[in-house]
């Protein structure tokens, strides 16, 4: 395990070095993320201004949730840049080059490049989270436990998103192309997660707490921390869901790798 971590670090260091050959690429990426986030937040706030609190969630509550989901999004995207367009490995048979390396195939894939620009998303998400926590006087009620809960939520949420993008990439071993599935499995749920899940119909809520377990990453911990749900122990649900979804995604991945068919030369 320690040895893999060491290899991970070295590969990441070199992929950052490779990335540095294209400094403008990095800069435009950053700019793009900042603009995207601002636009998304503006949309949420505009809706709130029109309709008032949604399902008992005030504007500040929703900014808290939004910050949490944004930071988690940045958190998994830093590591999952290659999984996002994993299709290319399958369509062009580049996955061959991954499998001939003495390392777990998923590790080899995710270290191919690191999306450092996503650090900006994490920072923006954390800033929103901190601002909302301050205005909601969270510390005054629960003290430092709030930060512990937020930390657990952020890590669990990032892991859940990472598991989902891994599962999506793994589906490519069956379908070859996954770009049609991405909006259903990833982008849609990501937008959905920015709002309290209680506004959605029962069936969709059930979906977000099972097959696409994003509810455990954003809504559940936010509801617990904001006292919209009884029982602070519920935060453990997020950690358990993160562990379970990661295990499921890794299982699906290695099942898929066995089906890999490569391409002719």
């Amino acid at each position: 395990m320690a040895a893999w971590w060491n290899i991970y670090r070295i590969l990441v260091r070199y992929s950052i070095r490779a990335e540095r050959q294209y400094p403008w690429n990095f800069f435009f990426n950053l700019l793009f993320h900042v603009l995207m986030l601002t636009a998304e937040l503006a949309t949420v706030l505009l809706i709130l201004a029109r309709v008032g609190p949604i399902a008992g969630w005030s504007a500040k509550d929703i900014i808290f949730l939004f910050g949490l989901v944004t930071a988690e999004g940045g958190g998994f995207r830093i590591f999952a840049a290659e999984l996002h367009d994993f299709d290319k490995y399958l369509v062009h048979g580049e996955f061959d080059a991954i499998l001939i390396r003495p390392a777990p195939s998923l590790l080899s894939v995710i270290t191919r490049s690191i999306d450092i620009g996503q650090a900006a998303m994490i920072l923006q998400g954390l800033a929103l989270l901190a601002w909302a926590s301050w205005r909601l006087h969270l510390m005054a009620v629960d003290g430092w436990a709030v930060w512990l809960a937020m930390g657990l939520a952020l890590v669990s949420g990032s892991v859940i998103w990472f598991a989902m993008v891994t599962a999506l990439a793994a589906l490519g071993f069956w379908t070859t192309r996954t770009d049609d599935l991405a909006p259903v499995i990833l982008y849609g749920p990501e937008t959905a997660a920015q709002y309290p899940l209680s506004i959605y119909p029962q069936a969709i809520r059930w979906l977000f707490f099972s097959v696409l377990p994003i509810g455990f990453g954003g809504y559940l911990p936010a509801a617990v921390i904001l006292h919209k749900m009884a029982g602070s122990w519920m935060i453990v649900g997020s950690v358990a869901a993160a562990a379970a979804s990661l295990a499921a995604a890794l299982g699906l991945w290695s099942w898929g790798v066995r089906r890999y068919t490569s391409t002719g030369t």
Binding site: I10, L11, Y14, R17, A18, S262, G264
Partner: protein, 318 residues
């Protein structure tokens, strides 16, 4: 299992691809490799031949753990490429001619550093090995260039060095000389011969270039339609196929051919006014007998013995 079995063992290896054009359409099955068995001992240099689509790449991909066979058993150095992939590839060198395994945006030097970490090569062994490969492949002036700026020949030298840094006992080469000019080809061949003889590296070489095989391989494994059609030394291949030997004969004067019938298995065809290509089967008639026969046609001015080209031999086999 007692001792690990060195070398490569394939028993009844099969690979069937199942494709569906649409989700619910009936599956289309194509058999890429069928019941293929062979053994390659440590230190051998084997040419792996066959026409396009014969199943060569599919076989190699099963040997290195990229593909999972649908039938049969395979071990390389006593390990299963599928179940023990990570452990196995640590002891394999792999070069696919049409695909780079180096880090495109990094200088060769840094690609080597990454490989050192990945294969956990001890520092002292790494220094010695790297120096030897840089020397043999003349890489010193290229070390600081990003891989994407290297020419095809330069890159292939880099790929070979990268594949051999961790001193693997087994090397798989899939069309390593494709697209290279004669000079680069010949220096690569020289290098391959060296590491095979001096370091005892077992090499399995796939190529369409018969001169690669002719100059390098002690043994040939030929497959077609996923099945083995020949396995053995080159001389045995010629005997098995029965490709005729040939001699080119020039006569002083146009020979008197009227009323002359060539002996069985001898064929004669004009290549000039008084030169002829005479093909014969050495198993049935000796060169001396052929010449004796030809002398009855006129005085022979000159003759040249033609070796059957490997291309021709292989063609006969398909």
């Amino acid at each position: 299992m007692s001792q690990p079995v060195p070398g490569i063992r394939a028993e009844g290896l099969s690979k069937e691809f199942v494709r569906r054009s649409r989700w619910f359409s009936p599956p289309q099955r194509t058999v890429a490799v069928e019941n293929l068995s062979f053994r390659i001992e440590p230190g051998e240099f084997v040419g792996f031949l066959g026409p396009n689509g014969a199943g060569k790449s599919t076989t190699i991909k099963m040997l290195v753990g990229i593909l999972h066979p649908t039938g049969g058993r395979v071990t390389v150095n006593g390990l299963s490429p599928q179940r023990e992939r990570i452990e196995l590839v640590r002891s394999l060198g792999i070069v696919f001619g049409q695909r780079s395994q180096l880090w495109w945006d990094l200088p060769l030097r840094e690609s080597f550093e990454i490989l050192r970490a990945l294969y956990r090569i001890p520092a002292s062994a790494y220094r010695v090995r790297r120096a030897r490969l840089v020397d043999l492949l003349e890489l010193a002036p290229l070390l600081d260039q990003p891989v994407r700026q290297l020419s095809l020949g330069q890159r292939m030298r880099g790929e070979l060095a990268g594949a051999l840094l961790h001193s693997p006992p087994v090397l798989f080469l899939d069309e390593p000389t494709i697209g290279l000019d004669i000079a680069v080809k010949s220096s690569l061949r020289h290098f391959l011969r060296q590491i095979n003889r001096e370091d005892g590296v077992t090499i399995l070489l796939t190529t369409h270039d018969m001169s690669d095989v002719e100059q390098l391989c002690s043994r040939m494994l030929v497959i077609n339609h996923g099945r083995k059609v020949f396995d053995g030394a080159r001389a045995e291949l010629e005997a098995a196929v029965g490709v005729p030997h040939a001699v080119e004969v020039s006569f002083e004067n146009p020979p008197r051919l009227e009323g002359w019938t060539p002996p069985p298995t001898v064929a004669m065809q004009a290549t000039g006014t008084d030169t002829f290509l005479v093909e014969f089967n050495r198993e049935r008639i000796s060169l001396a007998q052929v010449l004796e026969e030809l002398r009855t046609l006129g005085t022979i001015r000159d003759l040249a013995l033609k070796e059957p080209s490997l291309d021709r031999v292989i063609e006969e086999l398909y």
